[in-house]
Symmetry: C2
Subunit: 325 residues, 2 copies
Amino acid sequence: MAVYTEVTDEALRAFLADYSIGELLAFRGIAEGVENSNYALKTREGDYILTLYEKRVDPRQLPWFLNLMRHLVERGLSAPMPVPGRDGAALRALAGRPAAICTFLAGVWPRRVRAAHCGPLGAALAELHLAGADYTAVRPNGLGVAAWAPLLEACRADGEGVQPGLIAELDGLLSDILAEWPAQDALPVGQIHADLFPDNVFFLEEDGRPYVSGLIDFYFACTELLAYDVAVCLNAWCFEADRSFNVTKARALLREYSARRPLSDAERAALPVLCRGAAIRFLLTRLYDWVNTPKGAMVTRKDPLEYLYKLRFFALANSPEAIGA
Amino acid sequence: MAVYTEVTDEALRAFLADYSIGELLAFRGIAEGVENSNYALKTREGDYILTLYEKRVDPRQLPWFLNLMRHLVERGLSAPMPVPGRDGAALRALAGRPAAICTFLAGVWPRRVRAAHCGPLGAALAELHLAGADYTAVRPNGLGVAAWAPLLEACRADGEGVQPGLIAELDGLLSDILAEWPAQDALPVGQIHADLFPDNVFFLEEDGRPYVSGLIDFYFACTELLAYDVAVCLNAWCFEADRSFNVTKARALLREYSARRPLSDAERAALPVLCRGAAIRFLLTRLYDWVNTPKGAMVTRKDPLEYLYKLRFFALANSPEAIGA
């Protein structure tokens, strides 16, 4: 749920006066996105999304994100296009927060992922990686492999309370991941989304078949092993509610990805450990939030144990074939 | 925050197939409204709001509400118009909930009420009362004067924990209200909104002056003393953040209301006790929710004590003149 910062009408009107997007017609908080405050904004010119960046986002990183989004849109990707103000700047301030207006994207994110979504998702992911190839500014992955041991340490005292034996199990699994993790120069590196979950991918349908109409929420994007983004998607899109891994979905995702950006032999060989890495990344950040969120706080705490089951699956299914590659 | 029921894309598409509103383009949860789940829905035809009615709303009451909204729109009020499906029915079912699509209203609700809002609000309230005059179906007010003593009883055990002395103070204040409350046949009765808070009133501006572009959320509407609706608005619109009563706002509200529907002498004389009644109504329902909401539940509990201060004000300022009438 996602309106953390309320905007008064006077502040909004003053803010919009610095844009050339026409008269304000509507302004409604959007109940999606967990990091920032998002508003649907309608003017005489059309529909937009106004985002206020909350405290989890480092304001110094915002130009990198907004420039990446513009770069991707200019290369044909359907992503939110930052709208500049009259002075040319897209990153502005509102209600004491950094703020930006982006174009509105049509589409609906899939509440229930079907195999028919996973091919188009794989294709869109490859197109994102290709479109980002000539965006040269580097942003290290703050939640990458180097962050996982410190995150586990930060959860050590309280993590046992979530599930007995959890920390010892994670010690063993993380130790294996770190031992097998590919060097940053061993695999292709580029701009990745790093958080391409179903609620960040909009679909429309043509003749009953879903196609990707847009990708959103680039605020975890970073410069990282490209195949790690594939591993994030295998975690986020290919498990069923009963915790089973749907290899049909994985194959569709990987087939359409590879048709646009073929995975090298080294990437394919590394995919299992990358999947374990992606699983432990989401497990650890969710666990950290779980043990550090005050009871009764008005935020949705996501269940960290969902990712323990995914991590265990990938630890057992430790070959490219077992995960559809 | 208001998306309690998630809707799968398949269920949504099947639901929309029963309407003639064109192809689905977007579907986003709205972070507003506390009783129901609301989604912004965009099709090739335009913008709509899809509402799923949650468990606080009695499904048997929904036809009364939807028919009232249609009636008001047909008489020129700007309110959400229920959109019928192909079979003519506006009230349908989705994701196991009663559901309806209504037209989208332009406008922005005022996060900070100014005196310039209160005149137009008073005018819109009078127009609502006039437009409802020939809607003859009766819905008793389930949260009217007869409900307050039972509500106070339900809070008696836990209310002291909210503020020592609170229950004894409310016993005294409620006893006075009940003694002075006008008989249902002593004042004009009609269809009232009963919850016309700022987040239910949209404004746009013309030459820098706000005008009401629409009224929403009729799900507390009922057949009640018309002047009680004025009293609700005096509570909801005319207090400042420092708890002071802004009589300029009250006068603007009452002047523009009376210009369209003059208050009778009896209504004007009753306004102080109606204001106390409206204050204790919101105080008691908030107090009930406060003591009955589990800690950590994902709902915003509104502070009941805000209305204690309003109630105390109206108990002291116990003349029409003191409240701007």
